[in-house]
């Protein structure tokens, strides 16, 4: 029944929205004020598309009843990821993980490699993992790297991933493993819920709309997102992903290296270092080796065989050169020794020489090392993924939100996903504004990175429903730009009397209000009693965060600039002046106040008396209502369990 009502409201929202937006584009634009009219109609179109995508999401909201029973005897690992969280917090999670009913092994993945953590974890009886020597001087890929490292060290068929602060319930595996009876299911995601959040949720930590209708809707489209924690994954799916990605990446890299290789070598031969006849002859060997590699690949040889040929030919040439050099040196030494009257046992010398050739011909000391561009080409002409610690990387490393990218790739390779809507772990949300902003920035940056690196709209293997589900989340992070325009609208009118629409008339209200009302009604019904107002407030109020995330992510993807990535602190950050973080919002608020006063003054002076001023003042008041969330956030001093205890007990009874 609810589903039918939601579908009716969703359809009406889109129809009413279309009716409004088409009218806005075709009949209402005030071209004299195009500089505000065009941005405003674009922002409204943005919002309309957002509503349409949301309608599409909830259209298929899944309503899963009890999960299938977990079959006995599955081989399960529980991973707890930590970087710098307090040991006590990690250990509390580890204790709860050990107490999970379904038989399993518990591992703490400590990226901080803290000896005292190892000791404490092992004392509890859990396993401890940290990165090995292969990671030295290689990209670490943050949490994705930590998980990939652990996947190589363990053998569980299913893996429950928990952030350090996510304390699991004992039944978490019993409630989720049954879904894997379907052999195409790659992961089961459960909600992330936070226990240290007061009822009024000043920082908007709970995401009832996301871990609710949005994930349920995505689930209906077989596009539930993996969110990095509180999810069970199938090892086989991850390993397959890692392999496919390894093959594709290696093949692309080797082909590229072969294509440019000969040109790079030819260029190197013109450099002054190559004037030495020995180096010149070595380079000509390298050039012909690369040529042969290309020919072999064209002839149908595998990448492995072709690259082995190249490396073997180059190694042989290098060894000859080094041996000649050393032979020259040893003749000199022998002559010297003879002059000085020292005996030199011949056998020993050749043995030493062989050893020296081997050592000096090795990658790091080879004379080719001097010609870096050639070295780089030869390194690329390998199947070992020398630039990475591990050739196979099951979790995607293209984004700081490895989870979303991984689930998108899983969906693209035909795997299924489940969103199981039941709280099975309780975590800790950031308790202060700076930490919260860091966290939101990272999510937004990661999402935009994925959008720009591997757009779901063009990714092969995804259905159109899946594409739109991923695109929707990425699209929603563009809201910062729309928010700026929504603030500018009333400013333009109240301060300067410029109206972006032709007239505020019956035409406007007759189209705007139905859209607004139906759309809010749909949100309300879809939310099924969850409080979504905080989310709506933050969506607008954090506009500088969203904009910064978009621009930094674009600069990172297109120009290779660093993101300024930070791990979300789990402990409350002390100090920090909220105003230094919220100055854009403060300026906007001040401007809106000035605009309201100006609007009233203009009215008193006999200017713009009428609906325009009223509507714009109402609009400003609405903006204030949304922005006001930041006052509570800035004043928030962390979670006080005593104050909340009454509320907690009522909730636990449920």
């Amino acid at each position: 029944m609810t589903r039918l009502i939601i579908r009716i409201l969703a359809a009406l929202s889109v129809i009413a929205g279309l009716n409004y937006v088409v009218w806005r584009w075709t009949a209402s634009l005030n071209w004299d004020a195009w500089w505000i009219a065009i941005p405003l109609v674009l922002a409204e179109t943005y919002s309309f598309i957002d509503v349409t995508l949301f309608s599409l999401t909830v259209w298929r909201m899944s309503q899963r009843e009890d999960p299938p029973q977990a079959p006995p005897g599955l081989n399960v690992d529980v991973f707890i990821t930590t970087y710098n969280e307090e040991p006590e917090l990690v250990l509390a999670t580890a204790r709860a993980a050990l107490a999970i009913h379904y038989p399993h092994r518990t591992w703490v993945l400590d990226d901080g490699a803290r000896p005292e953590m190892r000791e404490a974890v092992e004392r509890l009886g859990a396993g401890y993992l940290s990165r090995g020597a292969e990671w030295v001087d290689k990209p670490r890929h943050a949490k994705a790297g930590n998980l990939n490292n652990a996947l190589h060290e363990t053998t569980g068929e299913f893996i429950l991933i928990l952030d350090a602060d996510q304390v699991p319930y004992p039944e978490i595996l019993d409630r989720t493993l049954g879904y894997f009876n379907d052999r195409k299911v790659a992961f089961v995601q459960t909600p992330q819920y936070f226990g240290n959040v007061p009822d009024d949720d000043p920082l908007g930590s709970q995401a009832p709309l996301f871990y609710g209708p949005i994930q349920q809707g995505k689930d209906g489209w077989n596009a539930a997102f993996f969110c990095g924690s509180n999810a069970v994954l199938r090892r086989e799916a991850l390993m397959q992903l890692g392999l496919t990605n390894y093959v594709a990446d290696t093949e692309a890299r080797v082909r590229r290296a072969l294509a440019v290789g000969q040109r790079v070598v030819r260029r190197a031969r013109r450099r002054p270092e190559a004037r030495d006849p020995k180096v010149a002859s070595l380079l000509s060997h390298v050039e012909s080796a690369i040529g042969e590699g290309s020919r072999r690949l064209v002839a149908g040889d595998s990448i492995g065989d072709a690259t082995y040929r190249v490396q073997a030919n180059v190694d042989a040439a290098v060894r000859t050169l080094v041996a000649e050099d050393l032979a020259g040196v040893s003749i000199d030494v022998a002559a010297l020794r003879e002059e000085l009257g020292m005996d030199s046992p011949f056998d020993e010398a050749t043995e030493e020489l062989d050893e020296a050739v081997e050592r000096l011909a090795a990658r790091d000391l080879s004379p080719l090392g001097a010609l870096e561009s050639v070295r780089a080409v030869l390194d690329a002409l390998s199947v070992e993924r020398l630039h990475e610690a591990q050739p196979i990387m099951p979790l995607s490393t293209i984004s700081v939100t490895e989870d979303m990218s991984t689930s998108m790739r899983l969906h693209a390779s035909g795997w299924r996903s489940i969103y199981h809507h039941e709280i099975l772990a309780v975590g800790l949300a950031p308790e202060d504004l700076p930490s919260m902003l860091t966290q939101r920035t990272r999510w937004a940056q990661g999402t935009v990175q994925v959008m720009l690196r591997e757009s779901p709209l063009t990714m092969r293997g995804l259905s159109w429903g899946q594409r739109l589900m991923y695109f929707n989340t990425m699209w929603s992070y563009l809201s910062g730009f729309a928010a700026v325009v929504y603030f500018a609208g009333p400013l333009a009118y109240l301060l300067a009397g410029v109206l972006p629409v032709n007239a505020i008339s019956v035409d406007f209200f007759a189209r705007f209000f139905p859209f607004m009302v139906v759309n809010q009604l749909m949100f309300w019904v879809a939310a099924q009693g969850a409080k979504t107002w905080r989310g709506q407030q933050y969506n607008l109020a954090l506009f500088p965060t969203w904009i910064k995330a978009c621009t930094t992510a674009a600069a990172n993807v297109w120009f290779g600039r660093p993101l300024g990535f930070a791990v979300t602190p789990k402990a409350r950050q002390e100090g920090g002046r909220p105003l230094r973080l919220l100055w854009p919002q403060a300026i906007v608020a001040a401007l809106l106040v000035i605009a309201c006063v100006a609007g009233i003054v203009r009215w008193v002076l006999g200017l713009n008396q009428g609906l325009g001023t009223l509507v714009n003042i109402a609009w400003t008041v609405f903006d204030f209502a949304l922005l006001s969330v930041l006052i509570g956030a800035a004043k928030y001093r962390g979670y006080d369990p005593a104050r909340e205890s009454a509320f907690q007990t009522t909730k636990e009874k449920k």
Binding site: T155, M239, T244, G304, S382, E384
Partner: protein, 110 residues
């Protein structure tokens, strides 16, 4: 999973008997690491008695290939059964590793 390492003419044959899955994969890696450690460089993995291989097994193959290459040698595969051939195709791993028909073919060119 049972392994045998035997020195042949110009290469070393490693035969793997059993199921190369998440349980067998670490054992293969250890066997190959030991072989490299004791001086073997040109390795052929005889998969004739490998009844089953999954992604973890393939992952171990890549790990072994890396280890062999870094030691200046190589790892090739031969005598693959139907199921193994299928997973090699499915993941495109056959584009990286040529499955040779017979163990003795693997280093014919070397």
């Amino acid at each position: 999973m049972r392994f045998a390492v035997e020195e042949r003419d110009g290469y070393t044959e490693v035969s793997a008997q059993g199921r190369l899955n998440m349980v067998g994969a670490p054992l293969l890696k250890a066997t190959v690491a030991d072989a490299i450690e004791s001086g073997h460089r040109l390795l052929v993995l005889n998969l004739g008695d490998t009844e089953f291989m999954d992604s973890s097994g393939l992952g171990a193959l890549v790990g072994c290939l890396k280890a062999a290459r870094q030691a200046g040698g190589d790892l090739r595969i031969a005598n693959v059964g139907e199921q193994v051939e299928m997973v090699l195709k499915l993941t495109s791993m056959d584009r990286i590793l040529t499955p040779y028909r017979h163990v003795e073919d693997a280093y014919k060119d070397a």
